[in-house]
């Protein structure tokens, strides 16, 4: 009985969302095949991004809203690659390669800022994302075509400076997904994309078995103690953010090659919120995140995402309400997860106090 209680208290968040998801599936009355297709597509699209969040959490920097910067780096690389007409899987690799130094630079700058805002990393990262968005818009909406000579009719708005609102990534669309697919009913399973995700998961797992990974964990547990032991805490924190940002850039490239079009001014906006929501739903917290939680969370989040409009429509009888429902769910999830996390850490400390008595 006690074990059940502990399990529930430990996994309150994923359990709650599993229940909500089941209710959603029940009310949405979607055909199973369609549901499976949607989930596979979305898992392939998003898992990489969510996994990119794990390292900074373990390094004690909380949920990295700064992955927006990584997404921007990925998009800049995609714009350039479209301009230079890179194509195919090689082109995609080249794009990722191009994004890497950019993302590393962004990550380094973000890490420096976050080191000045210890303990407030999440909100700082979020605001940094907004700021970077402003700079990004300034460059691509205003400087391109004025200060930066750029004359590509497929990318430029014809009547004024700036890039078009949508960029067609036709040369890169699905190039990773389509290397090798397996058909299951209506569902095309992009095996290579999943292999890349698996590779990342294994890499993260292996990374935490290395000296550097151990240092990250130590810094995440207690900066002061790690510092006294001679670990360079600030340097490790910057590295953690650099890793996360680079991974996020690659994740965004994978995401966009699946979608096939780049929404120049919007694609990156919700990357942070959605990836973080997914991670939280998997049962991760501000201080703890595992690969299993990331994948489980991605699954639950997108399951809910798929069923919520239809469920909303079935329950409230309006497609409009269904759309609102979608947005409401995404932000509501973050709020509830964080609240549940706070509640859980409180009740956990109670449990440990009781254990003291019996010990």
């Amino acid at each position: 009985m006690n074990q059940v209680k502990k399990f529930v208290s430990k996994n309150a968040v994923p359990i709650l969302f599993a229940i909500v998801c089941l209710l959603g599936v029940y009310y949405a009355e979607m055909p199973g095949q369609f549901l499976l297709m949607e989930i596979v597509k979305r898992m392939a699209r998003n898992s990489f991004l969510v996994l990119s969040l794990i390292i900074p959490v373990v390094a004690g920097m909380g949920l990295n809203f700064g992955i927006v910067l990584g997404a921007l780096a990925g998009q800049i690389a995609l714009i350039l690659s479209t301009h230079w007409e890179w194509a195919g899987i090689g082109g995609l690799g080249l794009t990722a390669l191009l994004a890497t130094p950019l993302a590393a630079l962004f990550g380094f700058l973000a890490g420096m800022v976050l080191n000045k805002a210890k303990g407030r990393e999440m909100i700082t990262g979020m605001v940094m994302g907004f700021f970077a968005n402003g700079v990004y818009q300034f460059i691509f909406l205003f400087l391109v075509g004025t200060l930066i000579p750029f004359d590509n009719p497929t990318l430029r708005i014809s009547t004024s400076p700036g890039l078009r609102n949508t960029v067609n990534l036709s040369r890169l669309r699905g190039v990773l997904d389509n290397v090798w697919t397996v058909q299951y009913g209506f569902t095309k399973i992009p095996i290579v994309t999943f292999m890349v995700i698996a590779l990342l998961a294994v890499a993260i797992w292996a990374f935490f078995k290395t000296k550097l990974g151990q240092d990250f964990r130590a810094v995440g547990q207690d900066r002061h103690i790690a510092g006294v032991a001679g670990i360079q805490t600030d340097r490790n924190r910057i590295l953690a953010i650099v890793f996360s940002t680079v991974l996020a850039a690659w994740g965004q490239i994978i995401f966009l090659q699946n979608i096939g079009t780049l929404n120049t001014y919007n694609s990156h906006e919700q990357v942070g919120t959605f990836a973080i929501a997914a991670l939280l739903i998997g049962g991760a917290s501000v201080t703890r995140a595992t690969i299993g939680q990331a994948l489980m969370g991605t699954f639950l989040f997108h399951l809910l995402f798929v069923v919520s409009p239809s469920a909303g429509q079935a329950i409230f009888g309006s497609a409009q309400v269904g759309e609102y429902f979608r947005v409401f769910v995404a932000y509501g999830i973050i709020a509830i997860s964080l609240a549940l996390h706070a509640w859980r850490s409180k009740s956990l400390s109670k449990v440990s106090m009781e254990e003291d008595v019996t010990a």
């Binding site: 292996a206 990374f207 078995k209 290395t210 000296k211 550097l212 151990q214 240092d215 964990r217 130590a218 547990q221 207690d222 103690i225 790690a226 006294v228 032991a229 001679g230 670990i231 440990s352 106090m353 009781e354 254990e355 003291d356 008595v357 010990a359």
Partner: protein, 534 residues
């Protein structure tokens, strides 16, 4: 005599013109346990900082004098250099990561690694941890200490007493450890844990490791030290073999005046009145680890009532329960009317004040100034130190003035009323707590473990202050683990055993009776006449 492991000669140090160390000599031989004692501010930490090449020393112009390790001159400019020379240090506060296993903590930043494919490309940092070797090393270190804890458990779940051993295991796992510095390691340990700890120290010394042991507990010094060095105000007072000292001598040399902890502080007081100020009936307090299971006790007006008993039997819970800090049931009547339980606000409103045993957790707002800490409760509860008007604005002038008076009166050693409380030493923090209670001008004053973790000189002063408060008309209920302390100031002493009242004794009752009550035997049971209890 062989060459000493550590020799410090003529060490002097000034901070900005103030001399804090004057010509200190210190010799520690191989396998020797050397105790360094002295009041807070005597210069012990400065001396250790010099030994370790801490940046506070190097950044302030270094030091004068010489340090020799095994007869060779050294001058460490960083802790790392000192550690490499075979000096280990166990800090007063735990330097352990709660979520790491014992092994991981022992090997923190000294992990054994083995190369893999990636480390060959990207460098040593990406080598895989050699967990097998790490565990084996940790086991060896723990075995050396005679500890049977598993090396793979996380530190989080370990009892506090074990943490200190994990820290020592970390030090002895370091290659070539010659000298281990222990900075007040037993301050947080219970009596039995401290005993075990001393046992471990002896074993270490027997293996040839020299120990420099800094402590406030003088009985420990007598039990374990080969040699003792006493510092006072930055000067070496006396150094010599343990046999040449008695505890009373050490204490006297430390504080420079004779104090006898068993003597009555404040002399005899007039007999307390028989008017009951507090009547406790069947009080249960749900305080983890210190549960009270139904206690009946009366407190008389104007007395100092001591609450004693062994750790874990619930003596701490009495004050915490009445002040509303832990869930309680039962009946408490204060000045003839019921005192609602579980409401700190109500207790404060009725004129009760409390100096908590958890100074840093409950007692103080650590990040706030001395001035604000002193006036906090009075301002909140009694609307003192506020400007007239409905907005309840702080009257900063009054606050500062009061803080200055308190600092003077309670002899709080600080840079001024605006100093952050966290930076104060334990004894001075306690004085701030007591100053706050004074400010409330309480009628009934609870104080728990007032002298825990503070040095001998401050101890006596704190006890004097409590008596002073009593003289001003407050009834005092003092809870303490140190019986001698209770006997030195209380009028009556209640002993708690397993959450219940075991008996009440006079302060001059024989030791035997105290021992019996603490062991849960009633006095009638063993035929001791109950003449002293009420």
């Amino acid at each position: 005599m062989s060459v000493p492991v550590l020799e410090m000669k003529n060490i002097s140090k000034s901070f900005y013109g103030t001399q804090v160390l004057k010509n200190i000599d210190l010799r520690v031989a191989k396998g020797e346990i050397h105790c360094l004692v002295g009041e807070n501010g005597a210069g012990k930490s400065t001396l250790m900082n010099i030994l370790f090449g801490m940046s506070v020393i190097t950044n302030t112009g270094g030091y004068d004098g010489q340090i020799l390790i095994n007869g060779e001159h050294v001058a460490f400019n960083s802790p790392k250099a000192a550690i490499e020379a075979g000096i280990g240090m166990v800090h007063q506060e735990f330097m352990l990561l709660p979520g790491f296993t014992v092994t991981e903590n022992i090997k923190l930043n000294r992990e054994d690694t083995k190369p893999n494919l990636f480390s060959k490309i990207f460098g040593k940092k990406l080598e895989t941890l050699d967990r097998k070797k790490m565990s084996a090393d940790a086991r060896t270190a723990l075995d050396k200490l005679g500890m049977n804890i598993e090396e793979w458990v996380t530190v989080e779940g370990l009892p506090v007493g074990y943490l200190q051993f994990v820290e020592i295991a970390r030090e002895i796992d370091k290659e070539g450890l010659q000298l281990l510095v222990l900075d007040e390691p037993t301050a947080v340990l219970t009596e039995s844990e401290a005993e075990q700890f001393l046992e471990v120290i002896r074993r270490l010394a027997d293996t040839g490791i020299s120990i420099l042991f800094i402590t406030h507990r003088l009985d420990e010094v007598m039990a374990v030290a080969d040699n003792i060095t006493i510092l006072k105000d930055g000067e070496l007072v006396r150094s010599g073999p343990t046999e040449s000292f008695t505890i009373a001598q050490i204490a006297e040399l430390m504080v420079g005046r004779r104090i006898d902890t068993s003597a009555r502080i404040g002399g005899e007081r007039p007999k307390a009145a028989t008017e009951k100020v507090l009547e406790i009936r069947d009080l249960h307090v749900d305080m983890p680890g210190e549960r009270l299971r139904g206690i009946d006790l009366d407190v008389y007006k104007g007395e100092i009532l001591g609450i004693g008993g062994l750790a874990g039997h619930g003596k701490i819970a009495l004050a915490n329960g009445i002040m509303g800090l832990y869930q309680s049931v039962g009946q408490v009547r204060y000045e003839g009317t019921d005192l609602p339980l579980n409401s700190p606000r109500e207790a404060l409103n009725r004129g009760l004040a409390f100096v908590s045993e958890d100074r840093r957790g409950v007692g103080l707002v650590l990040e706030d100034t001395i001035a604000n800490n002193i006036v906090l409760t009075s301002m909140q509860v009694q609307d003192k130190f506020l400007k007239p008007g409905p907005l309840k604005l702080k009257d900063q002038k009054k606050i500062t003035q009061h803080a200055l008076e308190s600092i003077e009166r309670f002899d709080i050693r600080c840079t001024g009323p605006d100093q952050i409380v966290r930076r104060l030493s334990g004894g001075n923090q306690q004085k701030v707590c007591i100053a706050r209670a004074f400010t409330q001008n309480p009628k009934l004053f609870f104080v728990s473990e007032p002298t825990r973790g503070i040095d001998v000189g401050a101890k006596a002063r704190v006890l004097e202050l409590i008596v002073e408060l009593n003289r001003m008309g407050a009834t005092v209920v003092i809870t303490s683990s140190e019986l001698a302390e209770l006997r030195s100031i209380s009028d009556r002493i209640a002993i708690i055993y397993e959450g219940k009242l075991s008996g009440v004794l006079a302060p001059d009752a024989p030791d035997l009776e105290y021992g019996l009550l603490m062991a849960g035997k009633s006095l009638e049971e063993v035929g001791v006449s109950e003449g002293t209890a009420n």
